[in-house]
């Protein structure tokens, strides 16, 4: 029964693996709900600030913020790459990285240099190995991302844009569509595309600015971009937990079918051994 023992220990180890994947699945499911709530909570702010920015761009035509002016020649671009900190979430990061790699290659061919701001470990590691210039980074945001942690790395990119070191800023993240479906998304942040920030209606009024238009609008624009990035981070987190839950469910199901197969083999060998023993006894008895 040497083979039997081997199979038994194998079954045991697969069962243990399954316990872990089941636990991870349940943890991810619980976190997913919270992450989705957080994503929804972030939406009103982004909507409101978007509306204010739209009003403003209609109301105050004489002052155009550098964030809305597009530049003719693009020599260097910035990419904010939002990925997860941990793995075991299916093809989520792989898809986002593949999308950004395609863009990087495209820029490389057009002789455009790239600066990366990496949010999340996976993207950071990938870009590091790729040899891309990393301008700023933040990792370990945890399950509740806070704006406070994002301000610094984002500021680096915004400063670079203001000073003309980069001519455009893009955002890559995993868009949350449903629990079963997440898609990598590529979005232009700066210059702010006019569709995002303009409404069709004509306004003939202007705000009263306190203390003065320029400084108020500057802080508004910075917050607008930050809100977009925060939204992406929150969405990425919801995607991560959903993808992990699905991946872990698949792993648990696989483990179950492996166990079933192994049990079948185990029983077969056990029966074969018993049959053999009986036939040996019978043969022995017949010989006597």
């Amino acid at each position: 029964m040497a083979a039997g023992k081997e199979i038994r220990s194998k079954i045991k180890s697969v069962e243990n693996t399954r316990k872990i994947t089941r636990a991870m699945e349940m943890v991810a499911a619980a976190k997913m709900r919270k992450a989705q709530d957080r994503m929804r909570h972030a939406r009103p702010y982004a909507e409101k600030i978007g509306r204010v920015a739209a009003h403003f761009s209609q109301a105050h035509p004489e002052y155009r913020h550098p964030f809305v002016v597009s530049r003719e020649t693009i020599k260097r671009v910035g990419v904010i790459l939002v990925t997860t900190d941990k793995g075991l979430c299916g093809g989520l990061n792989t898809n986002a990285l593949r999308l950004s790699l395609g863009k990087l290659k495209d820029w490389d061919e057009r002789k455009i240099e790239v600066d990366v701001c990496a949010i999340g470990n996976k993207g950071l590691g990938f870009m590091q190995r790729l040899g891309v210039n990393i301008a700023s980074q933040v990792t370990g945001l945890g399950d509740t991302p806070h704006m406070e942690r994002l301000i610094g790395p984002v500021q680096v990119m915004l400063d670079a844009y203001k000073e003309g070191r980069i001519d455009a800023l893009y955002l890559v993240y995993s868009r949350f569509i449903s629990t079963m479906k997440q898609e990598p998304a590529f979005k232009q942040l700066l210059p702010l595309s006019s569709e995002d920030a303009t409404e069709k209606a004509e306004h003939h009024w202007d705000y009263i600015y306190e203390p003065e238009a320029r400084s108020v609008v500057d802080s508004l624009m910075v917050r607008y971009v930050e809100a977009l990035i925060y939204q992406a981070v929150a969405e990425n987190l919801a995607s991560e937990q959903s993808a992990r839950m699905v991946a872990m469910k698949a792993a648990s199901d696989n483990a179950k079918s492996v166990i079933d197969e192994l049990k079948l083999v185990y029983n077969k060998t056990r029966q074969a051994a018993i049959t053999q023993e009986i036939s040996e006894i019978v043969a022995g008895a017949a010989a006597v």
Partner: protein, 141 residues
């Protein structure tokens, strides 16, 4: 019934308050401002402080603390975009410097440069593995 205006207080991480009010008092950067309905459009920064909201059906005023942000006033709507973090030019700058130095550290520690082809190969492998797993699952079921 008295005239009312709609008040929304939102931060990037959560919606804080939404409702009707007879008037609102807000700690703007240049001093406290009281907003009644049909106020002229106004855009200003606000300081850390408490927002006082007089709701039409309540005798007492609601007090909500905000740590700064931006105030937008439209004739019938007041929107407060509250900051979740304590902001300030120097503080933001310090955060930026920290993020930058971390990135520089990473750049220094990185191993030899890798070319696009190799990265692509690695990714292709990962994708192929995933596809294979999916196919396997389909066969089994």
């Amino acid at each position: 019934m008295a005239m009312t205006l709609h008040v929304d207080i939102v931060s990037a991480e959560a919606a804080i308050y939404s409702g009707l009010a007879e008037f609102v008092v807000i700690p703007a950067e240049m001093g406290e401002v009281g907003i009644y309905p049909r106020h002229t459009p106004l855009l200003t920064r606000i300081k850390a402080g408490s927002v006082r909201i007089k709701a039409p059906d309540k005798a007492e005023e609601d007090l909500i603390y905000v740590s700064g942000g931006i105030l937008e006033v439209q004739p019938g709507v007041v929107t407060i975009l509250s900051d979740t973090a304590i902001r300030g030019h120097d503080l933001d700058e310090a955060r930026a410097v920290e993020a930058k130095s971390k990135a520089e550290e990473v750049m220094r520690n990185r191993t030899s440069a890798m070319d696009y082809a190799q990265a692509q190969a690695e990714l292709a492998e990962a994708v192929a593995q995933l596809a294979a797993i999916q196919k396997l699952r389909k066969i089994k079921h």
